[in-house]
Structures are given as structure tokens and as C-alpha cells.
Amino acid sequence: MAILEIRNLKKSFGKLVAVNDVSFSMNKEEIISIIGPNGAGKTTLINLISRWIKEDEGVIKFMDKDMKSIGPREAVKMGIARSFQIARMFSGLTVLDNVKLAIASRKGKCMKFLSLFDEDKDITDEAYTILENFNLSKKANFFANELSQGDRKLLDVSIAFSLKPKLLLLDEPTSGVSAAEKTNVMNYIVNMINKNKIGAILIEHDMDVVFNYSSRIIVMNEGRIVADGSPEEIVANVSVKQIMGGK
């Protein structure tokens, strides 16, 4: 069953057409990588799916629901979570509090005025379980701004996972991460994706990451999809090689 269906999507910024007539559908538990040169429209596509921006034309359907009137907050409630190219987190809060807050939001607890956050055992226990899965539990009491780049990326994804999404959007999860950390970061993320049986769309420039972890690859160039297939099919595609500059 398709969890995400995109039809003839178009988005322009002035004269620049960032996403042009993009159509694809995505099944549950698929891990799709979107690749392409800078300016291909990858991040715009993620921003459209996560509802940060609205499309000019076309349709996005998530779980069979038209997303036209849906904003980013409602998209989260529907089950779309995302991470960011530059990891977004609450830098002055501890790693534990970052994750706890996302859980509290999911459980509708954030509007509680008189119950003490640090004494909420329910969300603390769940947060530790999530942090354990991302190997961050030992750093639970670190402030988020004290983490290494790799751990920041993991925390960003942990926050997204705390929302129990059905679809996870990952905008360059290994950008800025050292080569030594990259595999670890991706292993933790993909393990959690598989364990939770959710779908993920990944934007990535590192081709090792793309080909090792994706079940399907979509190649974009100048706002359009130029290829869509399994990693093996994409490797064999000559026009993809030309676009990606032989990467």
C-alpha cells in the first residue's frame, strides 16, 4: 500500500522552477534516497512533503489524505517527521530533555502547567529507550550543544523518531559528519527505520550511503525526476552518470 503519493508537483520561487512536474509513490517500509546535483530541487521536495512550503500545483497524498490544507504541525500529527540538513535541536537543553519534549508533544502533555517535567517518569523511561537505540544514553545529561556533529545528527533523528512517525524525511543525515562516524550514524538510523517498519526518504550526497542503505533511488535534476529505480538500475543508468558527474 502506498503511504505517500505525489502527482505532478510543481513549485517555483520567482522565475526559478525548483520542483517541476514531479510524480512518484512510495510504499510502506521503503527507504528512498533522492539524489541529484545542487539545485536539483531535493530539499524543496522535502520541504513540500513536510509542509514547510506549499506547492503551486499538483497533489501530495499521505495515507490517502490530500495534504493541500495541511501545515507542518498537522503533518507531524499525521505521522510525518523530519530531520534537517543542519541538525535542529534545543541547544540549551540536555539531550534527554530534547527527546522527552518530543515524546511529551506526541502524548499531548506540553500544555501541562502544574506537572513537573523532570518528574515525569513515563516520558523519561521512553526517552532513555530511544536514546539507547541511538547510542546516546550515556550522553543523556549533556547539553545538546556539547555533542559532536555525528551525535547532533543522531539526536536530530532521535527527536524525529520520538514522534513515532510513519514516514521519516532525512535531509542529508551525514552531512558534516566525519567519515569515521558516517557508517555508525547510518547504521543506527536504518536499524531504527527497519525495527519500526516505517518508510523513509533520504536526501544524501554520499553515494556509498545512498547505495548501501536505500531500497530505491530517485534522481532529480533541475526540478525533475530523471530516473527512479533500484540501486542496481540506477548504477546502470548512463544519463544518471552524466548528471552526477561520474560519482
Binding site: K121, T124, I159
Partner: protein, 324 residues
Amino acid sequence: MNAPQFRRRRVTIYMLMLLTAIILTVIHDFLGPYWSYIVMYGLTVGIIGLGFNLLLGYNGLLSFGHAGLFGIGMYTVGLSIRYFNIDSLELLILLAIVVGFLIASILGYIASRLILVYFALFMLAFGQIIFTLVYKLYNITLGSDGLPITVTKIFNISFSSRAEFLYYYYYFVIIVFILCTLFMWILVNSHFGKTIQAIKFDDIRVTYIGIPVHKYRYIAFLISALYATIAGAIYAPLAGHITPDNVSFVFSGEIVYLTLLGGMNSFSGPIVGAFVYTLIKVYLSTITEYWQFVMGATLIVIVLLFPNGIMGLVGLASSKFRKR
């Protein structure tokens, strides 16, 4: 901080609040009328500081218009006495809370959509509008002549003189201060409190965990405004005579000053700042008419050298002491 550590901290904080209330009560008779007045003023300014810091320290919003909200509380009390002959303190404060709530709920609708300099300037403009109204509407507010405040009843107990009223009013101010402090401490440590802190660090991330940022900013603004209004309502009977001076942007600046002085990153910062500010003001104004110059100079020193204020220094000293 884990739950047992936090529980111990919570008990310590509650005990400290109780101890503060007991000490202030016990020393009352030793203080005499003058110093009792100073303590009451410090507590009143502490209340507005707590509310102000909910926005600045916890939500990252700098308001230059809290004097306007303070003025709403002050003038609601003053005008209610003048035009409706209300002499019951609790009713006057309740009226001030209602009026403050109504104005803040409209103001907050716009304010919660603004951040950074836009928020600061919007609040400055609001403060100046309130100042201009109380200053220029002479027929209603008596302008710069000010309004006399004669409250004679607390919980239906009448007082024969202002001195007698102020003697018992001291206890009333302590109770309000402790309640405001207790509520604020719970609030900033609640789920809501943690959420508004998160908004300060990254409002886009907050949106992407499914939280409506404006709604939380709006509620934080409302609570902050109510603290300022309550402080204004308490100040009016204490002063006995209110003028537009405490509605001007200078007073808004003093609220910023005391918060930075005490430390905006600490819960107790604004309270400590309120008392130090009160003492500096009282002491300096007796020796020089340029006392505001000295306050300005100290503010520069604080911002440049001690960005976490007095409580930041205390925290630094205690952590060094523990390491020894």
C-alpha cells in the same frame, strides 16, 4: 537532572520559600516602617521581574513595555478607588487582574507573532501609549499630579491609619510574593515551561515536533503580563500616590536592568536583581541626583563582563568551591 535529584531540589526550593516567608515575617518589627517599605518595594519589583523573565530568560523575548502593564495594574486600582469608591484590597487586585488579562489577551495576539527587535519595539510602543494616556488624560487620571490611593480594608478588616494599613500590608505582600514565586517556579519547571524554553532555542524544531509556537508564546505573554499587572496593583496601595513615572519607558528599562543584574538565566536572578536594584536606587538617590548614570554604567559592566548577572557569579563561585 534525574527525577530523585530534581525531587530533592524541589523540596529545597519549597523549604527556601517557606524560610524566606518566615524570616521576612520575624524581622518585620525590627525593620521599622522605612525598611519594611523597602522590602515591600523589593518584593513588588521581584514579582514583575519574575514575570518579565518568563519572556526574556525562558522564551527569549525582550520587552521594553512592561511598565505599561505595571501601569495598567496601578491605574486600575487608582481609578477604581477614585470613581467607584472601592476600598477592598482583594477586590481591587482582582479587578486589576481582570483588566490586565483583557488588555494582555488582545495585546498578546499581536505580540506573540513577533520576535527579536520587532517584539521589543512593539512593547515599547505599547508602553508609551499607556504612558501617554495616563499622562495626558488629565480629567480622568489627574495626569502628572497623580492619584491618591487610600485602601483601608484587607479581607474586610479596616485600618484607622495608613501606618497601620502598611504594617499589615507587609504580610499581604509577602503572601502574594511567595504565591507568585511558587507558581512561577512550578510553571518554568513544568512541561509548558520546558516547551517555551525549547521555543527560545529553535522554534522551527518546536513546530516540527507538533507544537503550535504562537499559542505557547501567547500564553507565556499572558502570564508575564499578569505578573506585571499584579505587581502594579500591589504597588499602588504601597506608594499611596501613583503618577505616570512608573509607567514610563524608564521604568521598563529598570525592569530590564534588574533582570540582567540578577541574571536572566537563573530563576532567582530577577528576585535578587530586584532587591539589589532597590538598594542601589535607595542608596544612590540619597547621595547623588545622577544615580541613573551609575545604574547605566553598572549595566554596561554587567552586560560586558558578567552576562549571567549576580546569580551567574554565585553559581560560578559555588562550583569552584565544590571542586576544592
